[in-house]
Protein backbone atom coordinates (compact mmCIF):
# COMPACT_ATOMS: atom_id res chain seq x y z
CA UNK A 1 0.00 0.00 0.00
CA UNK A 2 1.04 3.56 -0.62
CA UNK A 3 0.45 6.75 1.23
CA UNK A 4 0.09 9.80 -0.96
CA UNK A 5 0.59 13.08 0.85
CA UNK A 6 -0.17 16.20 -1.12
CA UNK A 7 0.43 19.78 0.02
CA UNK A 8 -1.92 22.01 -1.97
CA UNK A 9 -3.32 25.52 -2.03
CA UNK A 10 -6.37 25.68 0.25
CA UNK A 11 -8.81 26.94 -2.35
CA UNK A 12 -8.05 23.90 -4.53
CA UNK A 13 -9.38 21.43 -1.96
CA UNK A 14 -12.84 21.10 -3.46
CA UNK A 15 -11.46 20.39 -6.91
CA UNK A 16 -9.04 17.80 -5.62
CA UNK A 17 -11.74 16.08 -3.61
CA UNK A 18 -13.92 15.89 -6.69
CA UNK A 19 -11.07 14.54 -8.81
CA UNK A 20 -10.37 11.84 -6.25
CA UNK A 21 -14.00 10.86 -5.98
CA UNK A 22 -14.10 10.50 -9.74
CA UNK A 23 -11.44 7.81 -9.61
CA UNK A 24 -13.32 6.15 -6.75
CA UNK A 25 -11.13 7.22 -3.89
CA UNK A 26 -13.57 7.44 -1.07
CA UNK A 27 -11.38 8.00 1.91
CA UNK A 28 -8.94 10.74 2.74
CA UNK A 29 -7.74 12.80 5.65
CA UNK A 30 -6.86 16.48 5.49
CA UNK A 31 -4.88 18.75 7.76
CA UNK A 32 -4.42 22.50 7.85
CA UNK A 33 -0.70 23.11 7.60
CA UNK A 34 1.63 25.99 6.82
CA UNK A 35 4.16 25.82 4.09
CA UNK A 36 7.49 27.45 3.51
CA UNK A 37 8.94 27.34 0.03
CA UNK A 38 9.72 29.41 -3.00
CA UNK A 39 6.38 31.14 -2.94
CA UNK A 40 6.97 34.59 -1.53
CA UNK A 41 5.22 35.49 1.71
CA UNK A 42 3.93 38.94 2.57
CA UNK A 43 4.44 41.71 5.10
CA UNK A 44 2.00 42.63 7.80
CA UNK A 45 1.92 45.92 9.66
CA UNK A 46 0.83 46.37 13.25
CA UNK A 47 1.40 49.91 14.42
CA UNK A 48 5.13 50.46 14.51
CA UNK A 49 6.03 46.87 13.69
CA UNK A 50 6.44 45.14 10.35
CA UNK A 51 6.38 41.34 10.31
CA UNK A 52 7.27 39.13 7.40
CA UNK A 53 5.03 36.12 7.10
CA UNK A 54 6.61 33.35 5.09
CA UNK A 55 4.66 30.37 6.32
CA UNK A 56 1.63 30.29 4.09
CA UNK A 57 -1.61 28.36 4.68
CA UNK A 58 -1.74 25.06 2.82
CA UNK A 59 -3.85 21.93 3.01
CA UNK A 60 -2.27 18.53 3.37
CA UNK A 61 -4.28 15.66 1.88
CA UNK A 62 -3.41 12.13 2.89
CA UNK A 63 -4.70 9.17 0.94
CA UNK A 64 -3.67 5.61 1.61
CA UNK A 65 -4.35 3.37 -1.34
CA UNK A 66 -3.19 0.32 -3.24
CA UNK A 67 -0.05 0.28 -5.31
CA UNK A 68 -2.13 0.04 -8.45
CA UNK A 69 -4.16 3.11 -7.65
CA UNK A 70 -1.26 5.19 -6.40
CA UNK A 71 -0.24 6.56 -9.76
CA UNK A 72 -3.80 7.46 -10.65
CA UNK A 73 -4.18 9.29 -7.38
CA UNK A 74 -1.02 11.27 -7.98
CA UNK A 75 -2.15 12.20 -11.46
CA UNK A 76 -5.61 13.16 -10.32
CA UNK A 77 -4.27 15.43 -7.60
CA UNK A 78 -1.75 16.96 -9.93
CA UNK A 79 -4.34 17.78 -12.53
CA UNK A 80 -6.79 19.22 -10.06
CA UNK A 81 -4.41 21.18 -7.84
CA UNK A 82 -2.40 22.84 -10.55
CA UNK A 83 -2.68 26.57 -11.15
CA UNK A 84 0.74 26.88 -12.76
CA UNK A 85 1.84 29.51 -10.28
CA UNK A 86 4.57 29.10 -7.70
CA UNK A 87 3.35 27.49 -4.50
CA UNK A 88 1.08 24.88 -6.05
CA UNK A 89 2.68 22.34 -3.74
CA UNK A 90 4.16 18.90 -3.65
CA UNK A 91 3.07 15.29 -3.64
CA UNK A 92 5.02 12.74 -1.61
CA UNK A 93 4.61 8.98 -2.04
CA UNK A 94 5.71 6.49 0.59
CA UNK A 95 5.08 2.92 1.61
CA UNK A 96 2.48 1.83 4.13
CA UNK A 97 2.85 -1.65 5.56
CA UNK A 98 -0.56 -2.26 6.90
CA UNK A 99 -3.97 -0.69 7.30
CA UNK A 100 -6.65 -1.58 9.82
CA UNK A 101 -10.28 -0.50 9.85
CA UNK A 102 -11.07 0.14 13.49
CA UNK A 103 -14.78 -0.59 13.20
CA UNK A 104 -14.39 -4.09 11.76
CA UNK A 105 -10.81 -5.10 12.36
CA UNK A 106 -10.35 -5.70 8.62
CA UNK A 107 -6.74 -5.41 7.51
CA UNK A 108 -4.85 -4.61 4.36
CA UNK A 109 -6.66 -3.63 1.18
CA UNK A 110 -10.01 -4.53 2.65
CA UNK A 111 -9.55 -1.80 5.16
CA UNK A 112 -9.07 1.02 2.69
Amino acid sequence: MKKIEAIIKPFKLDDVKKALNEINIEGMTITEVKGFGRQKGHSEFYRGAEYTVDFLPKIKIEVVTTEEMALKVVDAIMAAAKTGKIGDGKIFVSAVEDTVRIRTGERGKEAL
Partner: protein, 435 residues
Protein backbone atom coordinates in the same frame (compact mmCIF):
# COMPACT_ATOMS: atom_id res chain seq x y z
CA UNK B 1 -31.54 49.22 75.12
CA UNK B 2 -28.13 47.70 74.34
CA UNK B 3 -29.65 46.56 71.08
CA UNK B 4 -30.58 50.08 70.24
CA UNK B 5 -27.12 51.29 71.10
CA UNK B 6 -25.61 48.60 68.95
CA UNK B 7 -27.78 49.57 66.04
CA UNK B 8 -26.83 53.19 66.52
CA UNK B 9 -23.19 52.25 66.43
CA UNK B 10 -23.68 50.23 63.32
CA UNK B 11 -25.57 53.08 61.79
CA UNK B 12 -22.63 55.30 62.46
CA UNK B 13 -20.18 52.79 61.05
CA UNK B 14 -22.05 51.81 57.95
CA UNK B 15 -23.70 54.98 56.84
CA UNK B 16 -22.52 58.32 55.65
CA UNK B 17 -23.86 60.96 57.98
CA UNK B 18 -26.00 62.96 55.60
CA UNK B 19 -27.56 60.23 53.57
CA UNK B 20 -31.19 60.95 52.97
CA UNK B 21 -33.20 59.24 50.31
CA UNK B 22 -35.84 60.71 48.09
CA UNK B 23 -35.25 63.51 45.65
CA UNK B 24 -34.32 66.77 47.31
CA UNK B 25 -35.62 69.82 45.54
CA UNK B 26 -32.35 70.75 43.95
CA UNK B 27 -31.60 67.45 42.27
CA UNK B 28 -32.40 67.66 38.56
CA UNK B 29 -33.64 64.35 37.20
CA UNK B 30 -32.35 64.94 33.67
CA UNK B 31 -28.88 65.88 34.88
CA UNK B 32 -28.82 62.93 37.27
CA UNK B 33 -29.94 60.53 34.52
CA UNK B 34 -27.17 61.79 32.27
CA UNK B 35 -24.41 61.56 34.87
CA UNK B 36 -25.53 58.09 35.98
CA UNK B 37 -25.49 56.96 32.36
CA UNK B 38 -22.10 58.58 31.95
CA UNK B 39 -20.71 56.77 34.99
CA UNK B 40 -21.93 53.48 33.56
CA UNK B 41 -20.38 54.37 30.21
CA UNK B 42 -16.99 55.08 31.75
CA UNK B 43 -17.18 51.74 33.57
CA UNK B 44 -17.88 50.12 30.22
CA UNK B 45 -14.75 51.76 28.84
CA UNK B 46 -12.59 49.87 31.31
CA UNK B 47 -14.44 46.57 31.36
CA UNK B 48 -14.86 45.25 28.84
CA UNK B 49 -13.79 48.17 26.56
CA UNK B 50 -10.14 48.69 27.36
CA UNK B 51 -9.76 45.06 28.43
CA UNK B 52 -10.72 43.97 24.92
CA UNK B 53 -8.85 46.72 23.14
CA UNK B 54 -5.65 45.67 24.88
CA UNK B 55 -6.18 41.91 25.03
CA UNK B 56 -6.77 41.57 21.31
CA UNK B 57 -3.32 43.05 20.72
CA UNK B 58 -1.36 40.61 22.88
CA UNK B 59 -0.42 37.08 22.02
CA UNK B 60 -2.99 34.37 22.62
CA UNK B 61 -1.20 33.09 25.69
CA UNK B 62 -1.67 36.41 27.47
CA UNK B 63 -5.24 37.23 26.56
CA UNK B 64 -6.69 36.48 29.99
CA UNK B 65 -3.84 37.99 31.93
CA UNK B 66 -4.40 41.21 30.03
CA UNK B 67 -8.17 41.25 30.47
CA UNK B 68 -7.67 40.40 34.13
CA UNK B 69 -5.66 43.53 34.78
CA UNK B 70 -8.51 45.81 33.72
CA UNK B 71 -11.18 43.81 35.50
CA UNK B 72 -9.15 43.54 38.69
CA UNK B 73 -8.57 47.29 38.70
CA UNK B 74 -12.27 47.94 38.35
CA UNK B 75 -12.86 45.91 41.50
CA UNK B 76 -9.91 47.15 43.51
CA UNK B 77 -10.20 50.84 42.80
CA UNK B 78 -13.98 50.75 43.31
CA UNK B 79 -13.24 49.76 46.90
CA UNK B 80 -10.21 52.00 47.30
CA UNK B 81 -12.24 54.98 46.15
CA UNK B 82 -14.97 54.45 48.71
CA UNK B 83 -12.61 53.72 51.56
CA UNK B 84 -10.15 56.54 51.04
CA UNK B 85 -9.56 57.46 47.39
CA UNK B 86 -12.42 59.90 47.00
CA UNK B 87 -11.46 61.67 50.18
CA UNK B 88 -7.81 61.98 49.19
CA UNK B 89 -8.84 63.35 45.80
CA UNK B 90 -11.85 65.54 46.48
CA UNK B 91 -11.96 65.87 50.25
CA UNK B 92 -11.41 69.24 51.94
CA UNK B 93 -8.16 70.71 50.71
CA UNK B 94 -4.97 70.26 52.72
CA UNK B 95 -1.41 71.50 52.30
CA UNK B 96 -2.45 74.43 50.15
CA UNK B 97 -3.88 72.62 47.18
CA UNK B 98 -1.81 69.47 47.24
CA UNK B 99 -4.12 66.81 48.59
CA UNK B 100 -7.58 66.17 50.02
CA UNK B 101 -8.14 65.49 53.71
CA UNK B 102 -9.41 62.28 55.21
CA UNK B 103 -12.73 63.75 56.35
CA UNK B 104 -14.63 61.79 53.71
CA UNK B 105 -13.03 58.41 54.34
CA UNK B 106 -15.63 55.66 53.94
CA UNK B 107 -17.86 58.25 52.26
CA UNK B 108 -18.61 59.84 55.57
CA UNK B 109 -20.56 62.96 54.77
CA UNK B 110 -20.90 62.11 51.10
CA UNK B 111 -24.63 61.85 50.74
CA UNK B 112 -27.51 62.13 48.34
CA UNK B 113 -27.89 65.90 48.42
CA UNK B 114 -25.89 67.88 45.90
CA UNK B 115 -22.52 69.25 46.88
CA UNK B 116 -22.57 72.58 45.04
CA UNK B 117 -18.77 72.81 45.15
CA UNK B 118 -18.70 70.05 42.58
CA UNK B 119 -22.14 69.72 41.00
CA UNK B 120 -25.17 71.63 42.08
CA UNK B 121 -27.89 69.58 40.42
CA UNK B 122 -26.95 65.97 41.12
CA UNK B 123 -26.54 64.01 44.36
CA UNK B 124 -23.04 64.19 45.81
CA UNK B 125 -22.73 60.39 45.60
CA UNK B 126 -23.52 60.65 41.91
CA UNK B 127 -20.51 62.91 41.41
CA UNK B 128 -18.47 60.54 43.60
CA UNK B 129 -19.32 57.42 41.63
CA UNK B 130 -18.80 59.18 38.31
CA UNK B 131 -15.34 60.25 39.45
CA UNK B 132 -14.70 56.69 40.67
CA UNK B 133 -14.81 55.41 37.15
CA UNK B 134 -12.03 57.82 36.15
CA UNK B 135 -9.89 56.56 39.00
CA UNK B 136 -10.53 53.03 37.76
CA UNK B 137 -9.55 53.51 34.15
CA UNK B 138 -6.39 55.53 34.73
CA UNK B 139 -4.19 52.75 36.16
CA UNK B 140 -5.80 50.38 33.65
CA UNK B 141 -4.36 52.49 30.84
CA UNK B 142 -0.86 51.98 32.22
CA UNK B 143 -1.14 48.19 31.89
CA UNK B 144 -0.59 48.50 28.15
CA UNK B 145 3.06 49.36 28.67
CA UNK B 146 4.05 46.33 30.76
CA UNK B 147 1.68 43.88 29.07
CA UNK B 148 2.69 40.22 28.79
CA UNK B 149 5.30 40.20 31.55
CA UNK B 150 4.25 41.61 34.92
CA UNK B 151 3.61 39.48 37.98
CA UNK B 152 -0.02 39.67 39.00
CA UNK B 153 0.64 40.09 42.71
CA UNK B 154 3.10 42.91 42.13
CA UNK B 155 0.71 44.50 39.70
CA UNK B 156 -1.94 44.69 42.40
CA UNK B 157 0.35 46.23 44.96
CA UNK B 158 1.60 48.72 42.41
CA UNK B 159 -1.89 49.71 41.33
CA UNK B 160 -3.20 50.41 44.82
CA UNK B 161 -0.16 52.47 45.72
CA UNK B 162 -0.05 54.29 42.41
CA UNK B 163 -3.71 55.27 42.56
CA UNK B 164 -3.34 56.51 46.10
CA UNK B 165 -0.04 58.31 45.75
CA UNK B 166 -0.12 59.49 42.15
CA UNK B 167 -3.66 59.60 40.77
CA UNK B 168 -5.50 60.86 43.82
CA UNK B 169 -3.22 63.84 44.45
CA UNK B 170 -3.12 64.86 40.79
CA UNK B 171 -6.90 64.66 40.61
CA UNK B 172 -6.94 66.93 43.62
CA UNK B 173 -4.58 69.47 42.07
CA UNK B 174 -6.65 69.78 38.91
CA UNK B 175 -10.27 69.24 39.87
CA UNK B 176 -10.75 69.68 43.60
CA UNK B 177 -11.90 72.92 45.11
CA UNK B 178 -8.65 74.45 46.26
CA UNK B 179 -6.42 72.29 44.08
CA UNK B 180 -3.40 74.31 43.05
CA UNK B 181 -3.62 73.73 39.30
CA UNK B 182 -7.34 74.38 39.51
CA UNK B 183 -6.71 77.69 41.19
CA UNK B 184 -3.92 78.47 38.76
CA UNK B 185 -6.49 78.36 35.97
CA UNK B 186 -5.12 75.41 34.03
CA UNK B 187 -7.97 73.81 32.07
CA UNK B 188 -8.62 70.09 31.97
CA UNK B 189 -12.21 69.40 31.07
CA UNK B 190 -12.32 65.62 31.37
CA UNK B 191 -8.91 64.40 32.32
CA UNK B 192 -6.14 65.10 29.84
CA UNK B 193 -3.70 65.82 32.62
CA UNK B 194 -5.25 63.78 35.39
CA UNK B 195 -5.94 60.66 33.36
CA UNK B 196 -3.86 60.54 30.22
CA UNK B 197 -0.64 62.36 31.04
CA UNK B 198 -0.36 60.75 34.46
CA UNK B 199 -0.98 57.25 33.10
CA UNK B 200 0.97 57.74 29.89
CA UNK B 201 4.11 59.06 31.54
CA UNK B 202 3.91 56.40 34.24
CA UNK B 203 3.57 53.83 31.49
CA UNK B 204 6.81 54.96 29.90
CA UNK B 205 8.62 54.75 33.21
CA UNK B 206 7.15 51.30 33.82
CA UNK B 207 8.24 50.07 30.38
CA UNK B 208 11.76 51.25 31.10
CA UNK B 209 11.98 49.85 34.62
CA UNK B 210 10.46 46.46 33.77
CA UNK B 211 12.37 46.07 30.53
CA UNK B 212 11.54 44.60 27.17
CA UNK B 213 9.63 41.39 26.57
CA UNK B 214 11.72 38.35 25.69
CA UNK B 215 12.10 38.24 21.93
CA UNK B 216 11.10 41.84 21.45
CA UNK B 217 12.00 43.00 17.94
CA UNK B 218 13.12 39.48 17.05
CA UNK B 219 9.98 37.36 17.27
CA UNK B 220 6.60 38.07 15.79
CA UNK B 221 4.31 39.58 18.38
CA UNK B 222 1.35 40.21 16.14
CA UNK B 223 -2.05 40.84 17.76
CA UNK B 224 -3.79 37.54 18.34
CA UNK B 225 -7.31 38.79 17.61
CA UNK B 226 -7.96 42.17 16.07
CA UNK B 227 -11.74 41.64 16.20
CA UNK B 228 -11.45 41.76 20.01
CA UNK B 229 -9.45 44.98 19.71
CA UNK B 230 -12.08 46.47 17.43
CA UNK B 231 -14.94 45.59 19.76
CA UNK B 232 -12.92 47.35 22.41
CA UNK B 233 -12.29 50.36 20.19
CA UNK B 234 -16.01 50.67 19.46
CA UNK B 235 -16.90 50.47 23.14
CA UNK B 236 -14.22 53.03 23.96
CA UNK B 237 -15.65 55.52 21.49
CA UNK B 238 -19.17 54.89 22.80
CA UNK B 239 -18.07 55.15 26.43
CA UNK B 240 -16.01 58.25 25.83
CA UNK B 241 -19.20 60.24 25.40
CA UNK B 242 -19.78 59.51 29.07
CA UNK B 243 -16.20 60.46 29.85
CA UNK B 244 -16.20 63.81 28.06
CA UNK B 245 -19.82 64.91 27.68
CA UNK B 246 -20.57 63.52 31.14
CA UNK B 247 -17.96 65.89 32.51
CA UNK B 248 -20.44 68.69 31.96
CA UNK B 249 -22.14 67.10 35.00
CA UNK B 250 -25.54 67.76 33.48
CA UNK B 251 -27.55 67.28 30.30
CA UNK B 252 -27.11 70.78 28.97
CA UNK B 253 -25.61 72.75 26.12
CA UNK B 254 -22.12 72.20 27.44
CA UNK B 255 -22.59 68.44 27.39
CA UNK B 256 -23.81 68.64 23.81
CA UNK B 257 -20.86 70.76 22.80
CA UNK B 258 -18.43 68.32 24.42
CA UNK B 259 -20.22 65.39 22.77
CA UNK B 260 -19.81 66.94 19.33
CA UNK B 261 -16.18 67.88 19.93
CA UNK B 262 -15.40 64.37 21.14
CA UNK B 263 -16.91 62.67 18.14
CA UNK B 264 -15.30 65.07 15.73
CA UNK B 265 -11.81 64.79 17.14
CA UNK B 266 -11.97 61.00 17.19
CA UNK B 267 -13.05 60.87 13.57
CA UNK B 268 -10.45 63.37 12.44
CA UNK B 269 -7.62 61.62 14.25
CA UNK B 270 -8.58 58.22 12.89
CA UNK B 271 -8.56 59.64 9.39
CA UNK B 272 -5.28 61.52 9.78
CA UNK B 273 -3.53 58.48 11.28
CA UNK B 274 -4.83 56.35 8.40
CA UNK B 275 -3.81 58.92 5.83
CA UNK B 276 -0.26 59.15 7.14
CA UNK B 277 -0.04 55.38 7.32
CA UNK B 278 -1.36 55.07 3.79
CA UNK B 279 1.36 57.41 2.58
CA UNK B 280 4.07 55.81 4.69
CA UNK B 281 3.26 52.10 4.39
CA UNK B 282 1.20 52.01 1.24
CA UNK B 283 -1.95 50.81 2.96
CA UNK B 284 -4.20 51.94 5.79
CA UNK B 285 -4.60 49.36 8.55
CA UNK B 286 -7.57 48.89 10.80
CA UNK B 287 -5.36 48.79 13.87
CA UNK B 288 -4.05 52.13 12.68
CA UNK B 289 -7.54 53.54 12.33
CA UNK B 290 -8.43 52.26 15.79
CA UNK B 291 -5.24 53.66 17.28
CA UNK B 292 -5.94 56.98 15.64
CA UNK B 293 -9.43 57.23 16.98
CA UNK B 294 -8.20 56.56 20.49
CA UNK B 295 -5.48 59.18 20.02
CA UNK B 296 -8.16 61.67 18.99
CA UNK B 297 -10.31 60.83 21.97
CA UNK B 298 -7.35 61.23 24.29
CA UNK B 299 -6.34 64.55 22.80
CA UNK B 300 -9.80 66.08 22.92
CA UNK B 301 -10.37 65.00 26.52
CA UNK B 302 -8.98 68.13 28.20
CA UNK B 303 -10.44 70.37 25.51
CA UNK B 304 -13.89 68.84 25.01
CA UNK B 305 -15.82 71.47 26.96
CA UNK B 306 -13.90 74.44 25.67
CA UNK B 307 -13.70 74.08 21.89
CA UNK B 308 -16.05 74.26 18.92
CA UNK B 309 -16.37 71.53 16.30
CA UNK B 310 -13.91 72.93 13.78
CA UNK B 311 -11.28 73.39 16.45
CA UNK B 312 -11.92 69.82 17.56
CA UNK B 313 -11.38 68.67 14.00
CA UNK B 314 -8.00 70.39 13.71
CA UNK B 315 -6.91 69.30 17.17
CA UNK B 316 -7.90 65.70 16.39
CA UNK B 317 -6.25 65.63 12.98
CA UNK B 318 -3.00 66.79 14.54
CA UNK B 319 -3.31 64.17 17.29
CA UNK B 320 -3.49 61.35 14.75
CA UNK B 321 -0.33 62.49 13.04
CA UNK B 322 1.62 63.18 16.23
CA UNK B 323 0.76 59.84 17.82
CA UNK B 324 1.48 57.98 14.58
CA UNK B 325 4.98 59.35 14.65
CA UNK B 326 5.51 58.63 18.31
CA UNK B 327 4.47 55.02 17.81
CA UNK B 328 6.11 54.38 14.45
CA UNK B 329 9.34 56.29 14.79
CA UNK B 330 10.08 57.34 18.33
CA UNK B 331 9.46 53.94 19.91
CA UNK B 332 11.49 51.84 17.46
CA UNK B 333 14.27 54.39 17.52
CA UNK B 334 14.56 54.54 21.29
CA UNK B 335 13.89 50.78 21.54
CA UNK B 336 11.80 50.82 24.71
CA UNK B 337 9.03 48.23 24.78
CA UNK B 338 5.85 50.15 25.52
CA UNK B 339 4.00 47.05 24.42
CA UNK B 340 0.58 48.44 23.59
CA UNK B 341 1.65 52.08 23.28
CA UNK B 342 0.21 53.42 26.49
CA UNK B 343 2.77 56.22 26.42
CA UNK B 344 2.72 56.63 22.64
CA UNK B 345 -1.03 57.20 22.58
CA UNK B 346 -2.08 58.36 26.04
CA UNK B 347 1.06 60.14 27.14
CA UNK B 348 1.87 61.86 23.88
CA UNK B 349 -1.79 62.36 22.94
CA UNK B 350 -2.56 63.71 26.39
CA UNK B 351 0.25 66.24 26.26
CA UNK B 352 -0.79 67.42 22.84
CA UNK B 353 -4.36 67.72 24.07
CA UNK B 354 -3.32 69.81 27.04
CA UNK B 355 -1.30 72.12 24.81
CA UNK B 356 -4.07 72.24 22.23
CA UNK B 357 -6.52 73.28 24.92
CA UNK B 358 -4.27 76.26 25.46
CA UNK B 359 -4.48 77.01 21.75
CA UNK B 360 -8.08 76.28 20.80
CA UNK B 361 -10.07 77.03 23.97
CA UNK B 362 -12.69 79.70 23.46
CA UNK B 363 -14.67 81.53 26.09
CA UNK B 364 -17.45 81.81 23.53
CA UNK B 365 -17.98 78.08 23.81
CA UNK B 366 -17.66 77.95 27.55
CA UNK B 367 -17.60 81.19 29.53
CA UNK B 368 -16.29 79.24 32.51
CA UNK B 369 -13.15 78.47 30.48
CA UNK B 370 -10.76 80.92 28.91
CA UNK B 371 -9.54 82.01 25.50
CA UNK B 372 -6.64 80.06 24.08
CA UNK B 373 -3.88 81.49 21.97
CA UNK B 374 -5.84 81.28 18.72
CA UNK B 375 -8.70 83.14 20.30
CA UNK B 376 -6.68 85.93 21.69
CA UNK B 377 -5.79 84.55 25.12
CA UNK B 378 -2.08 84.45 25.71
CA UNK B 379 -1.99 83.32 29.33
CA UNK B 380 -3.60 79.92 29.00
CA UNK B 381 -0.84 78.08 27.14
CA UNK B 382 1.63 78.83 29.88
CA UNK B 383 -0.69 77.47 32.53
CA UNK B 384 -1.25 74.38 30.46
CA UNK B 385 2.50 73.84 30.18
CA UNK B 386 2.88 74.15 33.93
CA UNK B 387 0.15 71.58 34.43
CA UNK B 388 1.78 69.20 31.96
CA UNK B 389 5.21 69.57 33.48
CA UNK B 390 4.01 69.20 37.05
CA UNK B 391 1.86 66.16 36.47
CA UNK B 392 4.40 64.46 34.19
CA UNK B 393 7.29 65.03 36.57
CA UNK B 394 5.33 63.99 39.64
CA UNK B 395 4.03 60.83 37.91
CA UNK B 396 7.43 59.87 36.59
CA UNK B 397 9.23 60.26 39.89
CA UNK B 398 6.69 58.46 42.02
CA UNK B 399 6.14 55.66 39.54
CA UNK B 400 9.87 55.10 39.39
CA UNK B 401 10.22 54.98 43.17
CA UNK B 402 7.21 52.71 43.60
CA UNK B 403 8.36 50.24 40.98
CA UNK B 404 11.88 50.11 42.32
CA UNK B 405 10.64 49.38 45.84
CA UNK B 406 8.22 46.70 44.66
CA UNK B 407 10.89 45.16 42.51
CA UNK B 408 13.22 44.93 45.48
CA UNK B 409 10.57 43.52 47.78
CA UNK B 410 8.69 41.05 45.60
CA UNK B 411 9.92 41.31 42.01
CA UNK B 412 8.06 42.95 39.15
CA UNK B 413 8.41 40.43 36.41
CA UNK B 414 7.28 36.84 36.00
CA UNK B 415 9.97 34.17 35.75
CA UNK B 416 11.47 33.63 32.33
CA UNK B 417 9.71 30.32 31.69
CA UNK B 418 6.42 31.82 32.90
CA UNK B 419 6.76 34.56 30.33
CA UNK B 420 7.30 31.94 27.62
CA UNK B 421 4.32 29.95 28.88
CA UNK B 422 2.19 33.09 29.06
CA UNK B 423 0.41 34.92 31.83
CA UNK B 424 -2.82 32.96 31.43
CA UNK B 425 -1.33 29.68 32.52
CA UNK B 426 1.42 30.94 34.78
CA UNK B 427 -0.53 33.57 36.71
CA UNK B 428 -4.07 32.25 36.50
CA UNK B 429 -3.99 28.55 35.51
CA UNK B 430 -6.49 29.12 32.73
CA UNK B 431 -6.45 29.11 28.95
CA UNK B 432 -8.26 31.74 26.95
CA UNK B 433 -9.42 29.36 24.26
CA UNK B 434 -10.13 25.64 24.34
CA UNK B 435 -11.28 25.13 20.81
Amino acid sequence: MPKKILSMMLLYLFLPATVFAGTPAKVDSGDTAWVLVSAALVLLMTAPGLALFYSGMVRKKNVLGTIMQSFALLCIISIQWILWGYSVSFGPDKLGGLVGGLEWVGLKGVGLLPNPDYAATIPHQCFMVYQMMFAVITPALITGSFAERMKFSSFIVFSILWTTLVYDPIAHWVWATGGWLHDLGALDFAGGTVVHISSGVSALVAALVIGRRQGYMAETMAPHSLPLTLIGAGLLWFGWFGFNAGSALGANGLAVSAFVATNTAAAAAALSWSAVEWLHRGKPTILGLASGLVAGLVAVTPAAGFVGPISAMLLGAAAGVICYFSVSFMKPTLKYDDSLDAFGVHGVGGMWGAVATGLFASAAVNPAGANGLFFGGSALVGKQLIAIAASAAYSAVFTFILLKIIDAVMGLRVAQEDEVMGLDLSQHSESGYNM
